[in-house]
Each structure stands twice: as C-alpha cells, then as structure tokens.
C-alpha cells in the first residue's frame, strides 16, 4: 500500500516538476545585462562608436553627397548602380532617393553608439579619472562629427543626447540649426579639453577636435557672411572667422601633425609616413578582416576579377601593382584640364594602366570608359588588399591641407590677405606651383577656392563648401556652360539636367523619417532655398 502511494506521488511529481527555463538569458552575445561593467567595456563601446564610420552607408553616402553634386568626379556610364547616383549628380534628390535614408540612419547609429558610451560611463569605476574623461571626450567628438555631418546635409534634424530606450517610439521633433551647432561646439570643446594629443590613426585627439572646430566655425562664418539660407542666427561672421583662425593656428602648431613635405607622402595612401591625416579610418593595412573601406573598390580600375592592375607610382617612373576595383569613379577631365601646368598633383591621376610591370597596355583601352577619358584617382590606390583583392586605402575625413586652406580663406575674409598668402603658398609650393604674391582680397579668395578644388578633389568636401559660400547655383551654371562647350564624347552622362537645381542648400529628410516620426512634417521650403 505504501509502495502504491509513493507511485502515485511519483506520478504527481512528474506532472508538476519542470526542467524548462522560460526566462531567456543572452547566450553568446552581449546585451545591456552583461556589458558596461569595466573600463575595457567602455573602450570597446567607444571603438564600436568609431566603427560606425566603417559602414558603407555612412562613408559612401558622405563621399557621394559631397562629391557627386560638384561633378569633379565622373561615374561609369554603364555601372549598375548608376541610377543611385543620378539624382545627386543632376540635383534632383528626393526624400526617397537611394542612399538618403541609409546615410541619415548611419549617422544616427554613430550618435546612438556614442550616446550609449556617455550614458554608461558613470556606472563604471575608473582608476584613472583622466582616462574616463578622455573616453567621454572621444564619444562627444564622434557625436559632434555625426551631427555636423547631418546638419550640413539636412539642416534641422532631431537631436538625441542620450541613448533612448530603443523599444519606445521615436517621435522627436527637429531641433533648430542653432541648437545643433551649440551642441556640436559644446561637445568639441569638451573633447579638446579632455583628450590629450596622441595621434593614433583612426582615433580623434585634441588636435582633431580643434580641426573639426575650424570646419564648424568656417561653416557658420561663411554661411552667415554669404547669406546662405537658415544661418541668419549666427551672431557675427567676423567672430566666427576669428575662432576658425585661432583653432587653425592651434592645429598648425601641433607637434604631431603637419603638412607632409610632398603630396606623394599622403597619396597613394601610406599611413606610416604621413603626418597629415587628422582623422581617418582605423585601417589595418596588413590584415584581411578589418579596415576595409571599399573606397578603393569603387575608385580603382578593373582589369579582371581580383587581378591586380599596374600603374606608374605617382612622382616616379616605376610601374607597380595595385589592387583592383570596379572602375566606377574617376577624376573629371574638365577639372583635370584646369590645373596649372607643372602641378605635381596631376600625377595623382593615372590615365594609363597596365597589365604588368613591363607596361603592357590593357587591351580594351581602359583609359577610356564609355567614351570618357579616365583619370584614375590614385589618392585611393591601394597596395594591399583583402581576400578578394579589395584595396585597403583609407578615407581621409580630415587632413591638414583642408585646415590650412580654411585658415587661409578665413584670413582672406578677415582682410588679412598678407597673412594668408604664406599659408596658402605652403600648399602651392608643395604642389610645384609658383607662390602667390600680394593681391586683392577678391583675387585671394578666388585663388584659395581654386586651390581647394585642386587639392581636395575626390575627398568629400566640395558640395558643403559650395553651400557655405552660397555658390551652388553659380558654380553649377558655370559647370553647365563649360560642359556644353566640350566635345560630345567628353560631356557628362547626366541626362535630363534641365537647368533646375532642387534642394541646393539642404537635402530633404528621408521619407521614412517623415513617415514614421510623428513629430516631423516635410519641410517643403527646403526645395527652393537658393
């Protein structure tokens, strides 16, 4: 009888007991439950924020938005992704244009990751308080970097200063451009104060923050001075130029950074030699797994799948192998032809490529694509490549030439032409050109602008420069005129240009943001701003 009872008890136990576990625990992946407990985690989170720069969404969008509308770069006529580029080249961007949402979202990914570092840093105990402040400074630099990228492209955007609970609805209205700049400057000032100068490729340090401040103040100053739309709130452009000058001086006097003695030290990309790189990708030139920007992939010529191409090393007569790409973009002949003769920078564009070291020319005439004379951009030529031969050149987000030219430009605008001349001459003499001598404010401004076009071609700055100097329409009209004077085979393959430019000063917010963020209405005025 006892046995029987225990049998029933067993049955009852079997029915009631459990081995299943219904609460799910993260296995083998990170979540807020198991991360941000040590300073190393904070560093990992910070690197993750830096890592946002690697997203093709971000850097390709950043590059295309800035470069394609200025048309200093040409695009392969029969490239399968050309339809994506056309709206930008023909100034017919729409809220749902390809890349528009991707770039916008990629910036917010970077902001979200930076905000997460800032939100969590105080829960972690640091032995070295300076280290904590440095990490916070770098996170704030990145946040400023992404907001500055956004505000230049879109104007008013939603601002988040902490990592929202992602499950909650995002219904945040846009902030004013003024408020966004205030946040950017505040963040960069914090970064400048709290990060030492350490010059590590791929990271931002004190000088990098100062360099970005130069760009920020220049954007504010010239936008105000030239009357670019929606910058009326800037208090006085002279002050802003002064700020830009003072930060540019700080950058120039930095011990670690400086202009390279030759343009060929910076290009083709060679990380170890160059002192000029203020902010670049953290690019592993040796390994296969990380640091692949794919930027070389779209810039380099194609001679066969994964086959190296050969080209003359700029500034020498040696022919050597470079990693191939898909031959999508190259320097526009029309702008190539504007260079003064003897400009050493012309050698950064290869119009002949070869199959081997002996200089056997590519049989199907690769220097002409779709009828266009091609000048391959050796700025992105890569000596090493990944598994599939993708080149590993870096992306230059900020480099010294840019800051030097902005410095000169600011001095010119402040009527300090004589101070500006030796500064811009650093660039000119390095490029093998005759130095400028004393000239009027207007002539100097033109000369500096021309120097910018030559020096920074294909590096992702020109369109925002046109915007801050309020010269989109005039520049494009001039470009149209020049283009129409070219022989047919050298004209752009940009159909239906029609002369009307839309969204000259700010691109529309992506359609998805307008649709899904209930606090946002389409800004219809943007389309006609001139």
């Amino acid at each position: 009888m006892k046995l029987k009872f225990s049998k029933y008890l067993l049955v009852t136990l079997l029915i009631v007991s459990s081995c299943a576990e219904l609460e799910e625990k993260p296995y083998g992946f990170l979540s807020s439950e198991n991360y941000y407990t040590t300073p190393e985690n904070v560093r990992g989170g910070l690197f993750y924020a830096y890592q946002s720069l690697y997203r093709p969404d971000f850097f390709q969008g950043w590059w295309r938005f800035n470069e394609l509308p200025a048309r200093t770069t040409m695009v392969k006529a029969n490239d399968h992704s050309k339809p994506k580029f056309l709206p930008y080249m023909s100034w017919r961007v729409q809220s749902n244009s390809a890349d528009n949402n991707d770039f916008f979202q990629a910036c917010y990914k970077g902001i979200f990751r930076a905000n997460t570092v800032l939100d969590n840093v105080n829960t972690v105990e640091f032995e070295d308080e300076n280290m904590k402040n440095q990490y916070m400074g770098e996170a704030k630099f990145l946040r400023a970097w992404f907001y500055f990228s956004l505000v230049k492209i879109y104007g008013e955007v939603p601002v988040y200063t902490n990592a929202q609970n992602p499950g909650a609805a995002y219904n945040t209205p846009v902030s004013s451009i003024k408020d966004i700049y205030n946040l950017i400057i505040e963040d960069l000032e914090y970064a400048e104060t709290n990060i030492p100068e350490f010059r590590i490729a791929g990271r931002a340090d004190k000088t990098t923050a100062q360099a970005l401040l130069v760009k920020v103040y220049m954007h504010m100053a010239s936008s105000k001075e030239f009357g670019s739309p929606r910058y009326e709130w800037v208090s006085g452009y002279e002050d802003m130029y002064e700020n830009a000058v003072s930060y540019a001086e700080k950058v120039s006097s930095s011990g670690s950074y400086g202009l390279d003695t030759s343009v060929y030290e910076t290009f083709p990309d060679n990380l170890n030699l160059s002192r000029e790189k203020l902010f670049v990708f953290a690019n592993d030139y040796e390994g296969d797994e990380v640091g692949h920007t794919q930027i070389s992939f779209i810039m380099a010529p194609y001679v066969g799948f994964t086959d190296d191409y050969y080209a003359r090393v700029p500034g020498s007569n040696t022919i050597r192998a470079y990693k191939p790409g898909y031959a999508v973009f190259w320097y526009n002949k029309m702008y190539y032809d504007t260079h003064e003769s003897g400009d050493l920078r012309l050698d950064l564009y290869a119009d002949e490529i070869y199959l081997d070291e002996a200089g056997t020319e590519v049989s199907d005439g690769n220097s002409f694509i779709g009828g266009f004379k091609t000048y391959w951009n050796m700025k992105y030529a890569a000596e090493r490549g990944s598994e599939f031969g993708i080149g590993t050149a870096t992306m230059h987000f900020l480099r010294m030439s840019d800051i030097v030219l902005l410095h000169a430009e600011a001095l010119g605008r402040l009527n300090r032409v004589d101070e500006g001349i030796p500064i811009v001459n650093q660039i000119r003499t390095r490029a093998g050109l005759t130095p400028l001598s004393s000239m009027s404010k207007e002539d100097f401004d033109k000369a500096v602008w021309q120097e910018r076009l030559w020096e920074l071609q294909g590096e992702g700055h020109i369109m925002t420069d046109l915007r801050r100097r309020r010269m989109v329409a005039s520049f494009m009209a001039e470009d149209d005129l020049k283009n129409s004077q070219l022989s047919v085979e050298n004209r752009y393959a940009v159909p239906n240009r029609g002369g009307t430019l839309t969204y000259q000063y700010f691109y529309p917010l992506p359609q998805r943001e307008i649709d899904l963020n209930e606090a946002i209405e389409p800004d219809l005025e943007k389309i006609t701003l001139q």
């Binding site: 079997l14 029915i15 299943a20 989170g45 791929g202």
Partner: protein, 1025 residues
C-alpha cells in the same frame, strides 16, 4: 519448445484470472463453456496471424498464431469480436458451434483502424477533427531519402513542393496554405510521440521504417500541440514488433536515374559564337569571338569554327553524372512474445549526385523494444542511430566556363592545360574537397502504467543528439587563381541536443450509453543548438589538407562559434465524450510557455472543440439502407506559431572588429545596435473553423468525403519599420492578418473486387485561397508605394528590382511588375519608355494610369505562386499475386516567374532584331529587364508521378522464405506543362522556406541556370524469412 510451454502456463494463469473475474461479474445466468477453434483469413483465404479474437463484453480473448488459427473457451451463446488492423471488425454469435472460421473483409476505408493523434490514439470512426492517415505500405517501393517526397499527392490539404533531386532536401511542406511571413511555414513533425521539429530536420529516419503517417489539419486535431500546431502537424509512427510473428527481412533495391529532357544548350559553336558577337554588337561592347586572346583565353572567330579549325567539345559527360544510381538495402528482424516485442532494422542508402564525384550515403539503425514488466506496466524504448556522409563536389560546369572549344584531354589522356592558371573543370574537382559527416542518436523511452483498468499513466523521456562535422579544403592551385592566397581549409562542428519529458494521464470509462475519456499532461522541451569552427588559409603546402589548420598563416586563422537554446513548457488536456456512439465531443486545451517570447507574453492558451455526429447510426438513416457511413464533423479552435529563432524578444548588442592602431592589433568592440527588445513579442494565433462530411456507400466500396475550412491568422509576426533617427531598421512585432480558406474532396472507390482481381481508385482535390488581410500601416510595414493594392511591401527584400510583394487582398508573394506590351519598335515607343530601358527591341510596358510616362506607378499584380487547386489520382490494382499502383499529381493555376526566359536557346533564336520585329523575345543583349508579365508564365502541370508493379510470392511453410516480393518502380514518368524550362515544379527556397515560384537563375550567355529533374527506374526485391 520452451516458449510454447511458458505460453501455456501463462494461458492457464489467465484462464484462472478470467474465471475468477467471471465469478465476480457474471450473474446473468449459467451457461456451459465450450472450446471453440478456427482460422482467421482474409478475402483471398490467406491466414491472418496476429488477429484478435475477443469475447464481447469481456477482456477475454486470444490472438491468432502464424497460421491464423485460434482456440478459445467460451460460453455457448457468447459473441465473438474479431479484429485485425486494416480489416473491418466482425461480430458473430457462437451459437454452440465449435469450429468457427472467420473471413475478414479488408477495410478499404479503415474505419476501425486506430489512428495516432497527439498524445494518444483514437478509432478512425471516432475522430472529430480533420486527420488524414497515410499507410506506408503503398509508398514503400519509392526510392528516396526524404519523407516529404513520399507524401506528395497522398493527402488532401497537404501541398508538397519538391524542387530537387537532392537526397537531403529541397522539399517544402504546407498544410492548408502558408500563414506566416517570418515564422516557420512548415508543419510540426512528431516522431513516435516526440514533437521533433520540421520534416527537413528529420533526416535520421529511413522511410522504410515508417509504419504510418498522420496529418492533423484542423484545430480540433492540432490544438493539442498549441503554439506549434498552426502549420498543421505530421505524426510519424515507426514500425514495431508484433507479438508471435518473428520475421527476418531483407529488402534491396537499385535505382537508375536518367534525365528525360535534353539539356537546353547550343552545341553548334558557329551559331553560338555568332549569337554572342551579335549580343556584343548590340551592347556596344567589344566583339568577343574575334580571334583575340583575352586573359590568355583564345576566342576564335565564327569562321574559324565554320572551317573546323576549332570545334565543340562536349564537357557534359565528364562534368555531370547523367545516370546516377541509388542503392537501398534494408535488413532486420521483428517479433515478439507476451513479454517482449521488438523490431530491429538496419538501413543503407547511397545516392550518387549529379556533379561528378559528389555523393551521399546514410546508414541507420532503428531498434524498438516494448517490454511488458507485468500486466500493468510496460516499457517501450527505441534508439535510432544515423550516420550520414555527404561529399559535395565542384567542377560541374558543363560549359567549361564558356570555353567549350577547349579540349578536355590531351592525346595522352592528361588534362588539357593550355597555360598556367587555366581553370579546368576536372582539375577543379580535384582541387576542392568538402565533406559533411553526420552522426545522430535519437532515443525514446516510454513507461506506460495502468494501475487500474481505464487509467493509464505514460511517462516519456527522449534525448536526441545530432552532430555534423564539415571538412573542407580548397587547394592553392584553385585559390591562387581565384583569390589571393594559397589554400583554404576549415572544420566546422554543428551540434544539437533536444530533451523532451512528456507525462500524460489518461482515464477512460464506459457506462451505459456514455463513453468518456480524459487525458491531461505536461510536456517539457529543451532544444540546444550550436556550432564551432576553425578556418585557416594561406598554407605552405597542400599535402595536409585541413588536418593541421594552425599551419595556416597566423593572421589568417579564424574561429566561428554559435549557440542557442529554446525552452517550451506546456500543460495540455483533452476530453472525449460520446453518447450512444453517435454523438461525439472533443475538447482540447493547451497552455504553452515559451522562452522565445517577450517577458510580458510568456504564456499562450490554445483551446479547441470538435463535434461529430454519426448520422448513419440513427435509425432513420439506417433504414434507408444507403449509407454505410454518414458522418458530420464540426470543429473550431486556436493554434499558434512560435517558429522563430530564439532571443528575438530581448535586446542584443552588436559587436565588430576594430583595428586599434595604438597597439596595431584588431580588437573587438561592442554596443547596442543589433536588436531592440520587444517584451510583448508572442506567437501568431491561427483560429480555424472546419466542417466535414464523410460518407460511404455500397458496403463501403464507394467513399466520399468533403471538408471546408477557414483559417484566420492574427498577431502575424513581422518586422515593423522604425524612424531612421532611432538608428534601428526594424523591430519584430505581432501585427497583421493572413487568411486561408478552402475545400477538400476525397473520392475513393473499389471499382472491381473479385477474388483474383481488384481495382481501386482514389481522387484527392484540394483548393486553398490565401490572402494577406492586414500588415500594419503602410509606413511601418516598409511601404514601397501605395496603389490599387493598398500596402505593397517587398517580399523579396533588398535589391533595386522588386518582383514579389505582400499586398493587401492578394496571396503571399504575389508577382508584381509591368504588363508586357511587345517590344520597342518605333521612335514613339522609345520616347514613351522609361529611363534606362529605352532601346529598340527591349520590352515595352503598358501605361496603366495613362499619364504618358512609364514609371513605378504602372506596376500591377501579375500573378502568384500559389496554385488554385491541387489534385491527385491514385489507381491500384491486384491480380492474383501481382499488384500495381499509379499516381498522377496535378497542380493548377499557379504562376512561375521565369527569370531566364530570354536566355533559353530556343528563345534566343527568336530574338528581336530590325529584321524580326514580330519576334517573341527581346533583342539579344546583356540586359536585365524590369520584372514584367513577359517573365510570368503558367506553372500548372500534370505529372505521372509514380508507377509501381510488383509480384508477391508466398512460399509454403517448409521453405526458408516465408514471403518474397519483387517489384519495379518508375517515378517522374512524364509531366505535361507549358513552362519553357525543364520542370515547372520550381520556386521553393529551402534556406528561407518561402514558396517563391521564381525559377532558379544563374544563366550566363551560354548556359541556363536550371537542370532537368530525374526520372528514376527502380528494381527491388524484398524477402521475409
């Protein structure tokens, strides 16, 4: 004969027990006991061993012996109940007779057969839910490794899409349509009571070991599986040992596969080179066949082909195995006694693959044993060991990479290698090695205890372990050509562990006209899956293959790892009640707690009710003498779909490599960004209503049944799009509705039934309509655009060209695009056409909204991959000892998106040109066109799927053989269709489980991306000792 004696003792004991019982329970009167005996046979006078002869109203009875004989002591006026699986149970009065031979009639409808339902069995006639039972004796002769293939055309409401001849898959299974976007669409497979997974997971079993397959279609049947039941349930029962029937069997078959259709290709190099040159000219590209050398390959001119200086070499026979063989060998023993019933079978299956050098084989051993501890308790145990070995091949390009004018061999028989770095298909085969070895163990232990009559407790534990080791090495000769390094090798180990612990308590009671049973239970499941792998590349030598990966260049060594766990805890119950065996009621309930769902939604509840009325038992119908069966069934209830990966409801950080230039090393970085938590994530719920009518006439020789159903799936799992400034793309939410509704007919009849000859026919017809009713607001569903179809959301995902969408009011994955309207012939046509597609000879599209331009707004629904209906016809006949079976299978009203339509050789000969403006196909160009009705073609077909012819030989007792069967089988005999490709049964994507209806695309200028389906000839011999 020790056994015999033991049995006798046992019988005596039982007689005493029975007598005692008799004393206790029988007060009706005194009757005299007599001994009766006899033989139980079938209609063909074959003895039926193992038939049950029972005295009605008692538990007293015996089973027949080898020769069908029985003997029993009964009262003079007893009533005997004689039953045998697959035969109609007979009742007969003893009436004082002592010799009673009984002929049982085969029950072609199997009304008395017991069918397996979730956590129990029920007499088929007592079903209230929609359950189809498929006996495997009819399909045992078909050579295959995939169970899904066998089920095609065998059940209404069951659609099997079989797209490949691969021994391990390519089979999609749908029960009454698909009702999920991101969740699983495959039915739950329950193997011997264990809720195993999907049919694709079940690779361990040999189809020959299957006794029966039951398909649970409606909610009354499937709700007992709760959150796993929404896609229907397939119950698979393996063969068990039978008492007093020891048999040793050996079964062998050999299959030769052929390709009934010609490979669509050009063998005339002169014509092919001219076509290619014409294409290049049309593209404005350099002419390829111009006598040039490009990357060291010489491209002759068409004239050089004409003159015979260069010719065509046929690479097909050396790269593809055009007559692959399948070998199947089974051997085993089955038997049993009072104490112990066992079944042991060993199976060997070997299938050659189409690519030369690729193969698959499997050895598995299945052991079942049921041990009677005493008359109240038994233990049933089973072990299945399966070892698979798959060798994957490469080098199967029968166009030699478009260089068919290059010979295969030199005159001395060595490979023709014109230059260093040349890719030779056969050398490619030698350079690549990839092998997957699987070893799986499935165990199942079930204790059944019946402490008092009618009360059964069953405790079932099952543990399965599956492992696969994948080895691969690609030699440096290959990788140096294609990549930048010398050799790549890896080892990957995949493993899975599933534990099940299922306890049920069942109580049945009959009192008067009432018959009731109640079952309650609980089911614990833990499933763990993971993998580890190491990879290395860049080796100094190829000799070690992947045996010493640390020899790879250190920075090129990689590690892979993955892990996941999911838990399910369930309580369930079922109550059956019948009154006068006429009115039946089934109530089912299941509560499921799953680890996969959000913190707030851990538990789901799934109720169902089923009603049945056996109208033929009512006197007013009985009196009509028309119906043998007239039964009505009604059911309603809910099931769920929890078929998603684990960890989708909780927050997930991303991680990525970052190159730390400070230390010069690659470090890991991490942070939020991979996945947003959704604490409210839960299962999809399907509410299903089912009505059915079952009839049988003329002694059940004519049978007809009809079912109608409506399936309403709510809380559809789908990705919800988020504002971009939130930095996340989507979040998995429950929002949306999909409906499926349809009717099913099953008409079967015994057309001829004579002693020497019988002919049966069975027609199945299933019609299912599928409709997306709601997928959230347009914006958060990822709106492509809004037009007449309301929300139009890409279902093909990514890419610039959308060809399939979810649209409200349309079936899943509807084809979407422009309406083809001939070709651009005139300048007006050209001005009208759109952007990049404005050249002569390219397709012209209809301007749907008459706005004068062709743009996205002119796209319409062009068709869908869901058939209007499916039907099948089975004919089976027996003549003396010969038997035959034929299966015809039809799918009607679905469309195919034929990606490669322009590339087909026949179509390229009718390409548009200035001189051929009435052509049916676009200009010979290297172009991808916008999706249009040009590509959407009818996918209906009728397939003569299977023909079996066999001969059963019975050999008298003295011989060592008891039975012998000789059979031949032909499968895929012919297909009637309109599709220009080989076989219209295309468009199932095994990686996503979606029925796409899109043809396999990898066409190049000289090659169609498809390959024909096999026709298989099988010869088999089964022997029983």
């Amino acid at each position: 004969m020790k056994t015999q004696k033991f049995l006798n003792e046992k019988s005596q004991y039982r007689v005493i027990v029975f007598l005692l019982l008799f004393l206790f329970f029988s007060f009706k009167g005194f009757s005299q006991n007599i001994n009766i005996k006899g033989v139980v046979t079938d209609q063909l006078d074959q003895p039926l061993p193992g038939a049950t002869v029972l005295v009605k109203g008692t538990t007293k009875g015996v089973t027949t012996g080898f020769d069908g004989e029985y003997s029993l002591s009964v009262t003079e006026n007893a009533v005997l109940t004689v039953s045998f699986l697959g035969f109609i149970t007979q009742e007969l009065d003893v009436n004082g007779r002592t010799l009673i031979n009984i002929e049982l009639v085969e029950d072609s409808q199997g009304l008395d057969e017991v069918v397996v339902i979730g956590y129990g069995t029920v007499k088929k006639s007592d079903l209230t839910g929609s359950v189809v039972s498929i006996k495997t004796d009819k399909i045992a002769d078909i050579p295959t490794n995939t169970v899904g293939t066998l089920l095609q055309g065998r059940s209404t409401g069951l659609q099997i899409i079989n797209i490949s001849d691969d021994p391990e898959g390519g089979v999609g299974v749908r029960v009454r349509g698909a009702s999920s976007l991101v969740g699983s669409r495959e039915p739950l497979v329950v193997l011997d009571g264990i809720p195993f997974g999907t049919l694709a997971d079940l690779n361990q079993l040999a189809p020959g070991d299957i006794e029966s397959v039951e398909v649970l279609k409606d909610a009354s049947a499937a709700a007992i599986y709760g959150s796993q039941g929404a896609n229907g349930v397939i119950l698979i029962t393996t063969k068990k040992g039978k008492k007093d029937l020891t048999e040793v069997f050996v079964e062998m078959s050999t299959t030769l596969a052929t390709y009934p259709e010609k490979i669509q290709r050009f063998t005339d190099m002169s014509k092919l080179s001219r076509l290619r040159n014409e294409r290049d000219a049309n593209d404005g590209a350099p002419i390829l066949f111009s006598g040039q050398t490009l990357n060291e390959i010489y491209y002759p001119t068409p004239e050089e082909f004409d003159s015979g200086e260069y010719r065509f070499y046929d690479w097909l026979p050396v790269t593809r195995n055009m007559t692959p063989e399948i070998k199947n060998l089974r051997a085993g023993v089955r038997g049993g006694s009072e104490k112990n019933n066992y079944s042991l079978s060993l199976n060997y299956f070997d299938q050659e693959q189409n690519i030369v050098g690729a193969s698959f084989n499997k050895i598995n051993l299945l052991f079942n044993d049921a041990i009677n501890i005493n008359n109240k308790m038994k233990i049933i145990a089973s072990v299945n060991l399966a070892n698979t070995n798959r060798v994957n091949g490469t080098g199967g390009d029968f166009t030699n990479g478009g260089k068919q004018w290059y010979p295969i061999y030199n005159e001395d028989g060595s490979y023709f290698m014109p230059f260093n770095g040349y890719t030779h298909q056969l050398e490619l085969k030698d350079d690549y090695y990839n092998e997957a070895k699987g070893f799986d163990i499935l165990t199942n232990l079930n204790m059944v205890w019946e402490p008092i009559a009618g009360l059964t407790f069953s405790s079932r534990a099952s543990f399965n372990k599956t492992t696969t080791r994948e080895d691969s090495y690609t030699k440096s000769k290959y990788t140096e050509r294609q990549n930048d390094y010398s050799g790549i090798g890896f080892v990957k180990n995949f493993y899975g562990e599933q534990s099940y612990f299922i306890n049920t308590l069942t109580y049945s009671k009959e009192f008067g006209n009432h018959n009731a049973s109640l079952m309650v239970g609980r089911d614990d499941q833990v499933k763990i899956g993971g993998m580890e792998g190491i990879e290395g590349k860049d080796f100094d030598t190829d000799t070690l293959l992947n045996e010493n990966l640390p020899l790879a260049t250190p920075e090129d060594q990689r590690i892979f790892q993955g892990y996941g766990r999911q838990d399910l805890l369930s309580y369930f119950g079922r109550a059956n009640y019948s009154f006068k065996d006429r009115y039946l009621l089934t109530l089912t309930f299941r509560a499921d707690g799953s680890s996969k769902f959000g913190k707030e939604k851990k538990w789901g509840y799934f109720p169902a009710v089923g009603l049945a009325w056996k109208v033929h038992k009512e006197s007013f119908i009985e009196n009509l003498n028309t119906f043998d069966v007239l039964k009505l069934r009604l059911s309603a209830g809910q099931t769920g779909n929890q078929g998603i990966d684990p960890y989708q409801s909780i927050e997930r950080f991303g991680s990525a490599f970052f190159f730390d230039a400070e230390t010069g090393s690659v470090v890991n970085s991490g942070g939020p960004g991979n996945q947003i938590a959704n604490p409210d994530l839960q299962w999809e719920t399907t509410t299903q209503y089912n009505a059915a009518l079952e009839t049988a006439f003329f002694n059940s020789k004519l049978r007809f049944s009809a079912e109608a159903y409506f399936k309403h799936t709510t809380d559809l799992l789908r990705p919800k799009f988020l504002p971009s400034s939130g930095s996340f793309d989507t979040q998995l939410v429950n929002d949306g509705v999909i409906d499926n509704y349809g009717i099913e007919f099953d008409l079967g009849g015994t057309i001829i039934s004579r002693k020497d000859f019988s002919l049966d026919a069975n027609i199945l017809f299933s019609l299912n309509k599928n409709e997306v009713v709601d997928i959230g607001t347009a914006e958060d569903a990822g709106l492509v655009e809004e037009n007449g179809y309301r929300y139009v959301v890409s279902s093909t995902g990514g890419g610039d060209i959308i060809r399939q969408i979810y649209a409200i009011g349309q079936p899943l994955n509807a084809f979407y695009g422009y309406v083809f309207d001939g070709f651009i012939n005139t300048h007006e046509d050209k001005d009208f056409a759109q952007g990049n597609y404005t050249e002569f000879g390219r397709p012209k599209f209809v301007d749907q909204n008459d706005d004068g331009i062709i743009n996205e707004a002119d796209r319409v629904i062009l068709g869908n991959p869901t058939p209007d209906y499916t039907a099948s016809l089975t004919l089976s006949a027996k003549y003396k000892k010969f038997y035959t079976e034929m299966l015809f299978n039809a799918v009607v009203g679905n469309e195919i998106f034929d990606v490669d339509r322009t590339a087909r050789p026949a179509n390229r000969l009718d390409a548009w040109s200035v001189n051929n403006q009435d052509a049916q196909h676009p200009i010979n160009q290297n172009a991808e066109y916008l999706p249009s009705s040009y590509n959407v073609v009818d996918g209906s077909f009728l397939r003569f799927q299977n023909l079996t012819l066999g001969y059963n030989l019975e050999i008298p007792n003295q011989n060592i053989f008891k039975k012998m069967k000789l059979f031949c089988n032909v499968s895929n005999i012919f297909v009637i269709h309109n599709y220009e490709g080989y076989d219209p049964e295309v468009g199932f994507d095994p990686s996503t489980g979606v029925v796409t209806g899109v043809s396999n695309s990898s066409a190049s200028w000289d090659y169609i991306g498809e390959f024909p389906r096999q026709r298989r000839f099988t010869l088999g011999l089964n022997m029983t000792f």
